[in-house]
Symmetry: C2
Subunit: 185 residues, 2 copies
């Protein structure tokens, strides 16, 4: 069983919203699952080619062969949907989750409280920005897409993100206070 997640990110996006080009797929990824997933063109275009060769997706509009830079729309096939469904049922990979911020914080005594403080500040800022985005998305989602069958699941991932970010922001306040305490003590 193929388990390259890029494959399934693309299939999943095309299952929700067909007739998209590689360019559009990337944008859709950013706008929908961007807070926990990313795809680069270097992954997307070769993967689209491969998926088409495997019959999991098809070109859904005729392409003018003469024009090289023209838009190529893809849609998912029944075979592609089947593959996506099979993958969805497989237990998620409990991969080693690498967090560079935490790694720096863990070793921070080698650099001093000033450095630690600055990293935590940046971390909090990033999380505040992300939280604002997710809350906006939540509002827009409720207004626009509550009729889609995927809607409840989209909202669940959003509420997960909101919860994690709020926890992280509160922790940052506590952590900054703790590190400031080290500067004096």
């Amino acid at each position: 069983m193929e388990r390259n997640p890029t494959t399934y990110a693309i299939l999943g996006i095309l299952a929700i919203h067909p007739n998209q080009s590689g360019y559009e797929i990337r944008k859709t990824v950013q706008q929908s699952v961007g807070f926990f997933w990313g795809e680069s063109y270097g992954q997307i275009y070769p993967t689209l080619k491969r998926l088409a060769a495997e019959g999991l997706i098809v070109l859904s509009a005729p392409v003018d062969v003469k024009e090289k830079t023209r838009r190529k729309e893809y849609s998912i096939t029944p075979a592609g949907k089947k593959r996506l469904q099979a993958w969805l049922a497989v237990p998620f990979r409990d991969d080693p989750p690498r967090d560079e911020f935490l790694l720096k914080l863990f070793f921070a005594s080698d650099a001093g409280p000033g450095v630690a403080l600055e990293q935590i500040r940046r971390f909090q800022e990033k999380n505040r920005r992300m939280l604002a985005m997710l809350l906006e998305l939540q509002k827009l989602g409720l207004a626009r897409s509550s009729h889609y069958p995927g809607f409840p699941y989209w909202m669940l991932t959003l509420s997960y993100g909101v919860g994690q970010l709020k926890t992280a922001i509160a922790w940052s306040d506590m952590a900054m206070a703790a590190v400031k305490g080290l500067e004096w003590g």
Copy 2:
């Protein structure tokens, strides 16, 4: 500036606890930062060789050349410490954080509530196990290593993990209830 994080994970571990072999470094990584970082032998051994060639670490005990499978202890050099410190001050990389669980949940309407429910259940189980481990670590840490200069930072990363896991576990209860609602509606 080199930014391969494996480099700094190793330097950081050796800064805290010198005279470790590749084998031991891996174990130390698992036991200290394992809940947010991982390293495989395939990364560790070649990296150790490279770091030694660059003078960032040194063999800290004589190695019997005749014996091939003998333990090689490394320690960090002043140059290595400097490199580690420089890296600690660089803003953490805000890399695209990929979460396969959330990706599966996001697309779950293509597979149905049963599949979603099972994934969430597994997610919660995993988080419960992790939380138990972290709470244990917290207790042990307080008893054993509160005198180390890195201790406050270690506790901060732990309390971050505990907070995130508790939030995730509470969310899972909510999410499972929501998905069960979909099965009936």
